[in-house]
Amino acid sequence: MASITLENVGKVYPGGTRAIGDVNIDIADGEFIVLVGPSGCGKSTLLRMVAGLESITDGTVRIADRVVNEIEPADRDIAMVFQNYALYPHMSVRQNLEYGLKNRGTKRDEIDRRVAEAAGILQLEPYLDRKPRALSGGQRQRVAMGRAIVREPAAFLFDEPLSNLDAKLRVAMRLEIKELQKRLRTTSLYVTHDQLEAMTLADRLVVLNMGKVEQIGTPLEVYRRPASAFVAGFIGSPAMNLIPARAVPHLPGSAHAGLLGIRPEDMDITADGPIVLRINAVEELGAQRLVHGLVGGEAFTVTAPSDADLGEVLRLSVPTQALHRFDAESGKRLD
């Protein structure tokens, strides 16, 4: 149980490339923070800097109010779950769980107690004597989490732990991780490129782009009031429409903004709506359809009732509160 503080954290590689620039995040005790961003945005690097697997070139990282910049990963009191699980292939599940504890000189009966407890929580009891290769992907993932749990660390670090699983299992494990974290109340830092995973898991989201923090907030805050055009386009599925304001001069507020953002689900089809959309592609979702077209030369998507069809022309109106206005140059939110 501990807080984690990142203060002006940055990373410059020896070649001079800047991977992370000036990141400030305060993570409260027991909070579940998700770092999300497109690939190459530096989210994994940032996590690995907290873990101690990458050096920190600027700023300070504190775990439980202790500066850990120069402290070995093993002594930072953290546990990490890797994308490819990183289980020791020659050890049984039990040995995998015990290894970190043994290295720390934990007493035998304490090790047994913790392993039994973790195996119980993760339903791993039947597999304790198996080798990792004899387990399915989901079970391996559980073992990897078990290895973190038995350590009873100050914080869990997850590095895209679900990306090697198939879609159905991913959703199930996502729920499990969430419940587990709620139960153990261990501070967690979780990296993913999947915005849906980020939304469902996070107490607070940190959206990263090109090594910089774009926005920090609860999933709803980030969804409702994206701080920049990048966040607006990244969070939410289907993605928010971003069009130049001059393309729709009749919309309120468009005069002062460079970019307008409208979520596909926030529009109404009305007879005299200011936006005109000719449908040139349709995606069937069952209950409704996603229809695509061009507005002001930019791709534009709307959720429409299931009778909207190819070639049809829709007129759309937008409630004022559903309009997001961004600066054309910086991409920053204007209100």
Partner: protein, 282 residues
């Protein structure tokens, strides 16, 4: 390629049988020769089937050896060969696995230079550096000793490279997981790297044991005391008959016995050997 043509199958088998025959024939002749008397073999016609003197020839070599050529009993030479081959194989494995560990996992100054130095030794096998090596070994007073027989042959670039490749296939995450789990470098080496390279070590052991066992030139040079003769060098000494015909039947009996330990090692470690050479997934 999968083709089902009987003619092609027949041809393939003929080629294989011919190949086997070419390899096996000398071994068979050696065995046949070791079961006859000296005169049978040097009479001009070589017998093709085993004679009645098998036990006599073999027990003579095991008991007393060929005293005229100054070689000790075969058992003694076999023991010397075994000690030498084991020292070379185990020594090579220990040294190369440690140097590969250093090269792959540590960032130290002049690491590249060290790597290239090891690489360059590939160009310097024993035969090339035999005179200076002999001088060094003689200077250290290691002639006629097990250390002198094995130490100059222990350094191995090939094995170092093999382990380097093995270590490079081990995912980085495993190293990082071990770091977070609090395993220091040597603990990581012992608990993770060694068990994961187990099959490769076994495969290398087979190859190196046979390499060590078959050493000929170096043992011939550094042993003058007959109690340190190795079996392969010993056979050569037996065949050097100065004042008479070589005792071929006894030489062949020795040769057949010299073949047995490598064969035993290969058979015993066959499974691990194949696994170590083909297995890539870690």
């Amino acid at each position: 390629m999968i083709e089902n043509r009987p003619g092609l199958n027949l041809l393939a088998h003929l080629v294989l049988i011919l190949g086997v025959a070419i390899v096996a024939m000398p071994v068979w002749i050696a065995f046949v020769a070791s079961t006859h008397t000296a005169t049978d073999f040097s009479s001009g016609t070589i017998p093709m089937w085993p004679g009645p003197h098998l036990i006599e020839n073999y027990s003579r070599m095991l008991d007393s050896g060929l005293s005229t050529s100054g070689t000790p009993p075969v058992g003694m030479m076999m023991l010397n060969s075994l000690v030498m081959a084991l020292m070379i194989a185990i020594g090579k494995i220990i040294i190369s696995v440690l140097s590969a560990f250093a090269i792959v996992y540590f960032r130290f100054p002049l690491r590249n230079l060290a790597f290239w130095c090891i690489f360059i030794t590939l160009m310097l096998p024993v035969e090339v550096r035999i005179v200076p090596t002999f001088q060094v070994v003689a200077g250290l007073g290691l002639l006629n000793s097990y250390a002198g027989l094995s130490i100059p042959l222990i350094a191995s670039a090939t094995a170092t490279f093999l382990f380097r490749q093995v270590f490079l296939t081990i995912p980085d995450e495993l190293t990082e997981a071990a770091r977070i789990d609090g395993a220091g470098p040597m603990k990581f080496f012992r608990d993770i790297l060694l068990p994961l390279s187990r099959t490769n070590i076994a495969a290398l052991f087979v190859i190196l044991f046979i390499y060590g066992w078959n050493q000929y030139l170096w043992p011939l040079l550094v042993t003058t005391d007959s109690s340190y003769y190795t079996i392969v060098a010993g056979i050569k000494r037996m065949a050097d008959a100065v004042d008479g015909l070589p005792q071929w039947h006894l030489v062949m009996a020795t040769a057949v016995m010299a073949m047995l330990p490598p064969v035993a090692v290969v058979i015993a470690m066959q499974k691990l050997f194949v696994k170590g050479l083909v297995e890539t997934e870690k």
